[in-house]
Symmetry: C2
Subunit: 175 residues, 2 copies
Amino acid sequence: MDSLLEILSVDTEAVTKTIKKKEILQKQGIVSKNAFYVKKGLIRSYSIDEKGKEHIFMFGSEGWIIADLESNVFNRPTELYIDCIEDGEIVSFSLEYFNSENLSIEKLRKNSKLLTRRIGSLQRRVIQLMSSSAKERYKIFIETYPHIPKRIPQKMIASYLGITPEALSKIRGQL
Amino acid sequence: MDSLLEILSVDTEAVTKTIKKKEILQKQGIVSKNAFYVKKGLIRSYSIDEKGKEHIFMFGSEGWIIADLESNVFNRPTELYIDCIEDGEIVSFSLEYFNSENLSIEKLRKNSKLLTRRIGSLQRRVIQLMSSSAKERYKIFIETYPHIPKRIPQKMIASYLGITPEALSKIRGQL
DNA sequence: TTTATTTCTTAATCTAGATTAATAGTATGG
DNA sequence: CCATACTATTAATCTAGATTAAGAAATAAA
């Protein structure tokens, strides 16, 4: 993913920031234009429903970008919180940057590839949520992101999978 | 979405094709580089799981593009079938086109916006699948795509929502 | 180290939605 | 037009995963 760093390197306004575990980078309900590039550490984006339950949308470890594109694109208040799971460093920058005049054609092209890649992953996630059992989704998760489970509490895996911690505990007992 | 047509207009190899209801445009299991732009009619993409159950990933009506980006980006065999729900016309073209040398910087920029938009919609879909009941998802669907329900059988709505036709029938009875 | 807080597990009960099955309504093609 | 195949509805039963509750482990804080 160094193509991403290249893209960012042109951004004069982007600043590296030290982050602490549990620090909140973005709250639900605002209209956000910000994206967070993770240099070091681990962050997550999640929504909280009417019943107060957390649903993790995605994790971002080293080299990843987290942003609430839905809020940005449709100009709606964010559905997502973004906060830090580990101490680390992030680069925070404006999403508008991706379409700015400054970007060369090669950078735009690389950026398109990254976007397409993310669509591919989301396609997979949607199909999985519709067609696989919780146990299957768990197995796929630990295969797809083998480095993540060690760094987060069980209950966050459950939240990402769309099940309760109790259900995950039962599944793990079965394996 | 005329920006999309603009992008396509440069593609000399793209050809408009007449399609018939039930015609299959793409089968599961191949590595696909194709995208389908809908000029007229209605198509859908869907996967079939081990139990033989269909799961509709998305519908494409006039002006939309349907493609299996996961297959394309990660070079995996497709998980998706694509077929026609109504007679109509499509333009079939290669996905490589989106990153080709022919594209001007403005076209690339417009293309990025379209990709970002799709990520936004998918984000919404994932969060919904994790946090909303079937009844809520049904209500949101008919609000978000009011023109689609009239054109498709009930069981396809159920398939898109991730529930059985029987469950949808019960929900509709309650409203 | 001791205490407080958060996380994980186990078990009993409950429920949304799945499955199965039977019936009736609706298209569709010959 | 009829016959065959889809499509929708209703009802009985079943099950994956939710909810509730309580105790054990692990972390963090003091």
